[in-house]
């Protein structure tokens, strides 16, 4: 019995076409032109309890629109959604009790008051028992470091702190489903990793179903085995992440600024790396992530030499989609 079932879902927007310039604005005043945009175009899928599903696509692919319909704050144009046995938009408040939501670009925290106040308010909103409340606060402090900014007003938090506070808010009431929409957008690598770690932990210990919408491939790589790729409102791929990578995008690049010297890079080649560019104190390593994974390469580097900065670039989702289209034609 799937926890989420979506059947032939559509969402169309009527978008106002604003004409250019002053005369255009004047014309718009009397004769408005609209165009219909299909944000979600016949989407069907089902998700089992306890799954982590990556919902990936470029900006404007219809990811957020689908999530908003799943959480019940947007009414579908047509099609059916069943979450936990109810249609979300018809029973918004009931649905809201069982889910947690994090939008990377928004916050559900009260802007002018400390994080602690928002959390205690959330406790009343969701009727969280005291024991569970204290337990969760402890977990959030241990893993997310919530205690470091617990009494700070939200407007004074850094982006990473705010995101961690937002995730804490979304999980305080032990929801069945956690929706994450671009939860790591604009965050540095350390905070990103910490958040991913926490999400994985929550999924494992509480069997929380997690839907993660993102355009960052690396988010999904760390978290989910199942991935849905969307573009222009349609699902292009639904299945195993490794299969997807094997078929369309397996090239990764590691760039490192080194403080010392590496004498011999041939060992890397024998490990399966395709290409190495090494000059002075900068090394660029290109490899196929099916043959060798990033952590092996990074471990090798760190063992050999002192590094200042390491960055990993995976194939961007746009490239994967381009290859998908190319493969179809």
């Amino acid at each position: 019995m799937p926890i989420i079932k979506v059947d032939n879902l559509y969402k169309e927007y009527h978008q106002r076409k604003g004409r250019e310039g002053l005369t255009g604005a004047f014309k718009d005043l009397f004769n408005r032109q609209f165009k219909t945009v299909k944000a979600v175009d016949g989407v069907s899928f089902s998700i089992e309890k306890g799954e982590i599903v990556g919902y990936i696509g470029p900006n404007g692919a219809g990811k957020s629109t689908t999530i908003k319909m799943l959480i019940g704050i947007l009414v579908p144009s047509s099609g059916k959604i069943d979450v936990n046995g109810i249609e979300p938009y018809k029973h918004r408040e009931l649905n809201a009790k069982r889910i947690g939501v994090v939008f990377g670009q928004r916050t559900q925290l009260w802007w002018d008051i400390p994080v602690s106040e928002t959390l205690s308010l959330m406790r009343y909103i969701y009727d969280v028992p005291e024991q569970q409340y204290l337990e969760n606060l402890k977990i959030f402090s241990d893993i997310l470091g919530l205690d470091k900014f617990y009494h700070t007003p939200v407007r004074q938090l850094s982006l990473g702190q705010r995101m961690r506070a937002d995730i804490s808010c979304a999980l305080l009431h032990n929801p069945d489903i956690l929706y994450l929409d671009e939860p790591t957008i604009g965050l540095d690598v350390v905070v990103k990793e910490r958040i991913r770690e926490f999400i994985r932990e929550v999924n494992k210990s509480r069997n929380t179903t997690i839907i993660l919408a993102t355009h960052d491939m690396s988010d999904i790589e760390r978290l989910s085995s199942r991935v849905m790729v969307v573009n222009s409102g349609k699902i292009m791929y639904d299945g195993n992440l490794n299969t997807l990578k094997r078929r369309y995008g397996t090239e990764e690049t590691i760039v490192a600024d080194l403080l010392g010297r590496i004498d011999d890079t041939s060992e890397l080649k024998s490990m399966g790396v395709d290409k190495i560019i090494y000059d002075n104190n900068k090394i660029t390593i290109k490899y196929d992530s099916v043959k060798i994974n990033s952590s092996t390469v990074v471990r090798w580097l760190v063992e050999k030499v002192e590094t200042k900065d390491i960055s990993i670039t995976v194939t961007p989702i746009e490239d994967v989609i381009r290859k998908m289209y190319a493969a179809r034609n």
């Binding site: 704050i73 009931l94 939501v101 939008f103 928004r106 559900q108 008051i113 009343y124």
Partner: protein, 264 residues
């Protein structure tokens, strides 16, 4: 229920974060009040004036002005601004993600704000009014009736603002508050009591809920309204509450269908 009490408390705390803004508002209110008092003093110094509805003395008029500015601190259009902002920038999505009734939530926000205004804006006017201006004090019976009509006025003001706030779902411009502001200044009796209005405007005012916000409570406070008229006015208030309640419910249902959450 507890969560809504908590909303009121948080909204009150929010007021503390913007206390300087409130204090500036207090100062602004006092300045406007002093100007009004000076104008009426100049007008009525020669003696009481006879109007369509009776004789008006200077003391009555100064009392009217002081009470009116006290009520003014509680009847603001902040709800419209707030809703417009939230709808326009999509933050309303985050409100709807919570298992909370949006209208009740908005109402609680306003109550918290009103409590703050009561302490830091209304009370200063009251103190100055009693000590320095020497306003009339009502009979206990009139005062209780005044309180009832005032509480009703706060509810009606909220419902009107809420309805106009919802309009932002269809029209993304903040013109609604300007309309309320203008009508309110004219027909509510906020600055000029309806006693001084030509009959045609008085007649129009009977078809609007605005008269019930300032003019009716203050007239009751002053004891210038006949007992039967008081009763009628209170019944009118309840009628308006019912009408507005039905209207906002219908609007909300339509708005939710139409809802487009702005931005990512």
């Amino acid at each position: 229920m507890k969560k809504y009490l908590k909303f009121i408390q948080i909204s009150f705390n929010n007021g503390l974060a913007y206390r300087v803004e409130y204090f500036v508002g207090t100062f602004r209110n006092l300045v406007i009040l002093l100007v009004q008092l000076a104008v009426w003093k100049a007008l009525l110094t020669a003696g009481p004036v006879t109007t369509g509805s009776g004789v008006v003395t200077l003391r009555e008029m100064t009392t009217y002005v002081v009470i009116s500015s006290m009520i003014g601190t509680l009847l603001t259009v902040d709800v419209i601004f707030n809703m417009n902002d939230r709808i326009r920038n999509g933050q309303i999505g985050m409100d709807l993600v919570k298992p909370v009734n949006f209208q009740t939530y908005t109402f609680c926000n306003m109550l918290g704000q009103n409590m703050f205004s009561f302490l830091f804006q209304l009370l200063p006017i009251l103190v100055i009014g009693v000590i320095f201006v020497g306003i009339e004090l009502p009979s206990i019976f009139n005062f209780l009736l005044f309180l009832v009509t005032l509480i009703n006025a706060i509810v009606i003001m909220f419902q009107m603002n809420y309805a106009l706030g919802l309009v932002a779902f269809w029209y993304m411009r903040g013109w609604q508050s300007t309309i309320v502001w203008i009508l309110n200044r004219l027909f509510s009796g906020r600055y000029i009591p309806l006693w001084f209005f030509p009959p045609i405007l008085v007649t129009i005012s009977y078809f609007l809920p605005l008269r019930l916000m300032y003019f009716v409570p203050i007239s009751i406070y002053l004891g210038t309204m006949a007992p039967l008229d008081c009763l009628y006015s209170i019944l009118q208030q309840f009628a308006w509450m019912l009408v507005l309640y039905g209207m906002t419910r219908l609007m909300w249902r339509a708005a939710i269908k139409k809802l487009v959450i702005q931005g990512g």
